[in-house]
Structure formats: structure tokens, C-alpha cells
């Protein structure tokens, strides 16, 4: 994409120095005194050390700890005891946990396609010929940078009985809108609608930039052949931006499985547990009921699901992604 490396810098990555003798790997090489290369290995480790240590302590260590903690009955305060896989068997046998997985999957199945359709549609609409295009881009991007908590609070107000939506339907059609957030037929849809509103701006920008890089010459050639806008989009533009679409789909899939703030603020997981999602379940078990072992097991299951989804995406990409 746009970040491709210019030819002139390639030698850096393949290892040649302009005036140096041919090198064969590591610093311990030859009898001649080495200048920069001799110390380069130390510099490399030195430069990356602060970041590497940080990642080791705050990412690698917690990952290992997740596995360990998940094998214990580990209350937030008090004594812990090793229980083996009991947390996992308990989760898999728990009807609430199964509902949580189902809710999260339903959210994903609704959210990802809607997000992609809206963002792709608007990106296609916002061609460079649209005047004030950058203004529209900024407008549609606003809710992606504002705090999700604030977005969700605002939407909770809209969904409220006598709130903006209800008041509008009463005025226009003379009927009350459903009490979206308290009705288990509508609560998940309400969460999805709010999430699409606040989230599609990222993908829209990615698609918009990708569409900009489709060469004009190809489009003109197709237009001369009599292709309409619809054909032009699906036959020329879409195949050319398919790597971006693939990337965006993968990322959106991963993040939608981590949905938390929207249902947490809008419904607290209710009514009943009809909008309880996986991350809120982890939060509740770990920090409301203070069962860190059970919460870790659930977190590990979330991780496996996300890895699985990513792997499946990459396996499937050959079928429809066109790289040049």
C-alpha cells in the first residue's frame, strides 16, 4: 500500500553496505578489526531493550499468569487453591456463559457486516469530486475519537422512553417507540445500532484512502467500454481495494468480539442477561464477584476465539483478496 519502501533503501534490509566487504552474518567474523558492525549487535539489543523489557513484564508475564491464575480458585483477597481445569469445566457447563458467547457472536454477526456496508458505502460516496470532502470525513470520524462512555451515555438518553426517538415517533406517528433497552427483543439491536454509529469512521477512512489509489486510467478505460457506476465499483474498484477490505474485516471482527463499554453503559448486560458480552462477563466474574481464577479462564477462552477467528480469516483470504 502507501507505505511501500523506495527501491533505493532496499540494501539496508538485505544487508549490503555500499563500500564494505561482503558480509556473512554476525559480528564474530574475520580477523580484521571491525568498525561499526562489530558493535552493532550490542547497539541493536541496547536500543530495543527498554521496549522489550516493558513488553516482557507487562505483556508476556501477564499472558503466562493468565494461564496460571485460571488453574486456581483465586479470590481477589484471601487464600488460593489449585483446582486444575475446574474453572474451564465450570464455564463450559454454565448456561449463562453459553448465553454470553452466543450474545457476543450475535453482536459480531450483526455489527461487522453493518459496519462494513456503511463504511464502504460512504467511502464510495465520498469521492474526491465531492466538495468539502474533508469536512464530511471529519464529521463521520468524530464519534470514533470521543470517549465511548460518553457516546453510550448520549445514546442511552436517546433510547430513553420520552427520549428523542420515542418523542419523535409519538409526534410524527402518534405511537410510542418500544422501550429499546428494557425489551429483550430490541436491546441487542439498540447496542448494535449505537456501535455502528460510533465505530464505522475508521473503516470508512481506510476504504476512502484505498479507493483514492485506484488508478484513474483503469476507470476511464472501463467507462469508455460503457460500464456504469455499479459495475465500475464491483468489477474494478472493489477487487483493487480487497486487501484493505480484508484488513478492515479482520480488525473489526477482532474488536467486535471485545465489545464491552456500549452494553455496559446502555444495558448493563440486561434485560436479564440478553446483552451480556464476553468482556463484561470477565469483568463481572473478576471484579464484581472477585473470582479472578474463573475470570482468567474466560479471558483465555476469549483469546483462543480471537486467535481462531484471525486464523480462519487468513486461511480464507486467498479466495477473494487480490494482491497485485
Amino acid at each position: 500500500m502507501a507505505t511501500s519502501t523506495p527501491q533505493s533503501t532496499r540494501p539496508t534490509t538485505t544487508g549490503g553496505r555500499p563500500s564494505g566487504a561482503p558480509r556473512k552474518g554476525g559480528p564474530a567474523h574475520g580477523g580484521r578489526p571491525r568498525r561499526r558492525e562489530g558493535t552493532s549487535s550490542g547497539w541493536g539489543w541496547g536500543f530495543s531493550a527498554p521496549h522489550l523489557i516493558g513488553l516482557a513484564v507487562f505483556t508476556a508475564l501477564p499472558i503466562i499468569m493468565t494461564v496460571t491464575v485460571s488453574l486456581f480458585d483465586w479470590p481477589m483477597l484471601g487464600d488460593r487453591s489449585f483446582v486444575g481445569l475446574a474453572n474451564y469445566t465450570r464455564l463450559l457447563g454454565d448456561p449463562i456463559f453459553r448465553e454470553v458467547i452466543r450474545n457476543t457472536a450475535v453482536f459480531t454477526l450483526l455489527y461487522v457486516p453493518l459496519n462494513l456496508v456503511v463504511s464502504l458505502g460512504l467511502a464510495a460516496w465520498l469521492t474526491p469530486r465531492i466538495r468539502h470532502r474533508h469536512v464530511f470525513r471529519v464529521i463521520f470520524f468524530i464519534p470514533t475519537v470521543t470517549p465511548i462512555v460518553a457516546n453510550a451515555v448520549v445514546w442511552r438518553f436517546l433510547y430513553q422512553p420520552d427520549g428523542l426517538i420515542d418523542a419523535t415517533t409519538q409526534t410524527v406517528a402518534g405511537v410510542s417507540a418500544p422501550n429499546f433497552l428494557a425489551d429483550d427483543r430490541f436491546a441487542m439491536l439498540a447496542v448494535v445500532a449505537m456501535s455502528v454509529w460510533q465505530g464505522f469512521g475508521y473503516n470508512m477512512l481506510i476504504f476512502s484512502a484505498a479507493l483514492d489509489s485506484v488508478p484513474e486510467s483503469q476507470l476511464e478505460a472501463a467507462q469508455l467500454d460503457g460500464a456504469g457506476a455499479w459495475t465500475l465499483f464491483w468489477k474494478i474498484k472493489f477487487p483493487m481495494i480487497s486487501p484493505s477490505v480484508f484488513f478492515a474485516t479482520t480488525m473489526t471482527l477482532i474488536t467486535s468480539f471485545q465489545v464491552f463499554i456500549q452494553p455496559f453503559i446502555l444495558t448493563k448486560g440486561g434485560p436479564g442477561s440478553s446483552t451480556l458480552t464476553l468482556v463484561q462477563y470477565i469483568y463481572n466474574e473478576g471484579f464484581q464477584y472477585q473470582q479472578l481464577g474463573l475470570a482468567s479462564a474466560a479471558a483465555w477462552i476469549l483469546f483462543v476465539i480471537i486467535l481462531g477467528l484471525t486464523a480462519a480469516q487468513f486461511a480464507g483470504q486467498k479466495k477473494w483478496v487480490h494482491y497485485e
Binding site: 541493536g44 536500543f47 475519537v145 476469549l302
Partner: protein, 299 residues
Amino acid sequence: MSDLATRPAPGGTAPHAGQAPRSDGSHRVRHVVSYVVLCLVALAFLSPLIYMVATSFKPRAEVLSTPPSLWGSEFRWQNYVEAFTYFPFARFMVNGIVVAAVGTAINLTVSALSGYAFSRLRWRGRNLVFAVFLATLMVPQDVLVVPMYVLMQQVDWVDSYQALIVPWAFTALGAFMMRQFFLTLPQELEDAARVDGAGTIRTFLFVMLPLARPTMAVLSVFSFITYWNSFLWPLIVVNDVNTFGTIPLGLQSFFGQQGSQWNLVMAASVISMVPTVVLLVLLQKHLVRGIVTSGLGGR
């Protein structure tokens, strides 16, 4: 870029279709209709935020009115004053800025160093370490919060600024972005610096780093906004909201206590959104480029 040829003059009011080979009136009409519809879509999209701002100035009794109206009987700035007095939003803001600024500074420093090591230095183990960095990007925060909390308990950091800042300051994304940038620089630059007698550190600090300013700007904006909006972790690690609360945590807590006072809640929401919207408007070019070139997208 390739569309420059067919683009109307910047700021020009000439009909766009005039330059197309088969221009006619219907083309132009369609263009105008499309533009008007787009404006309506944008307006509908913004309506929740417009209604939020309008409500934040209404008297409490008029908040849930049918038919809905944009303006109350009076314009109450007082709502903002009350929101600030009910809850320490000024403190939440300062906390949010300190946490985001320090976290961003740490991330920027370690990322610039490691990104440089992964792109311009040759060392044994480089590819392996870089692969490990990339692998950590696969691990979402939600998977780490439980053990991270245990870790915070062990070092006695629960309810502290360090706990809000340090655990997430080492995300590998920054290293990846800096590496991508450094790879685009020509080798001649370094060679020239070497010939002038500059060592590795001086070359990095005075030749390479100044060139990386645009990438670092993108990285800073994203890091800052991510810290500012972060919610799950503060919710877990902060018990004393009035002292260590950040804006999202404070807003949620305020909402929990004053949930029925929608005018004040909307005022608080406006307060929490303003800094991010200002950043977005000021730095839109950086943000757009950052998303496009680094793939920070996909929320």
C-alpha cells in the same frame, strides 16, 4: 493522488461535471442532489451530538419533552457549573491529561528506539525479537486485565497514577510504525553522518529522529486519545474515583449517581468529548494519514 487531473480547482465554484468528456445537465443535477442528500445524512449522523449539546443547556424539567425541541425556555450555562461542582471534573481532566501525556511520552521513547533498532541496526536476533513484538499485537487488553490486576496488587500499585500509565505504555504498535518510517529513509543519510564522525547514538538523535517527527506526531495523537478514552482498566484499577478518576470513569460514576438529571449528564458528556474533538479538528491530517498508512483502524 491520481485524481488530481479530474479534480475541480480547489475552492472553485465551477460545475464539476464541466470537465468530464460527456458532460450534460443531468449529470450536474445528479451531482447536486447527491451533495444535498449527503448533507442530510451527515446531519442525521450528527443529531445525537447536536441533541446532547442542546440538552446540556436546558432546564431539568424540559429535558424529556414531546414533541422534542432543540431549545429550552432558557439557556442554562449553569448546568455546566453544577456538573463541575457536583463532581471534580476539573480533576478528572488533569488526571486524564497527565496519564495520557506521560504514557504517550514513554511509548514514544521506547518505540523510537526499538523501531530504529528493527530498521537501521543489524544485530543477531533482530528478526526473532521483531516477530515477538508483532505477536504481542495479537493479545487484546481484555485478555490481560485480570493478571495485570494481580500484578498491580503485588507491587501495591492499585489506586495510583503508575497503574494507569505504565502497564499499557509498551504497546508494540509504535515500534512497528517507527520501523516502517525508518525503512523509507535512504542509507546515504547514515553513511554521511558516519563519515562526519557521528556514532550510533548521535546519528539516531540528530539525524534520524528529527526526520521522524511526522510519524511521531501521528503516534502521539493516537496514543493520547487511546489513553484519554480508556475505560475498562481505570474501572478495574481505580477504587478512589475522586482522586485518580479519568474522564470516562468520572463520567460513568457521575451518570450512576445523577442519571436522572439528563441536562447535567449531557453537560458532563460535552465536557468529556470536547478535548478529543478539538484534537481531531486540529490534527485531522495527521490522523487520516496515520490511519491510512499504519492500519490503526478497525474499531
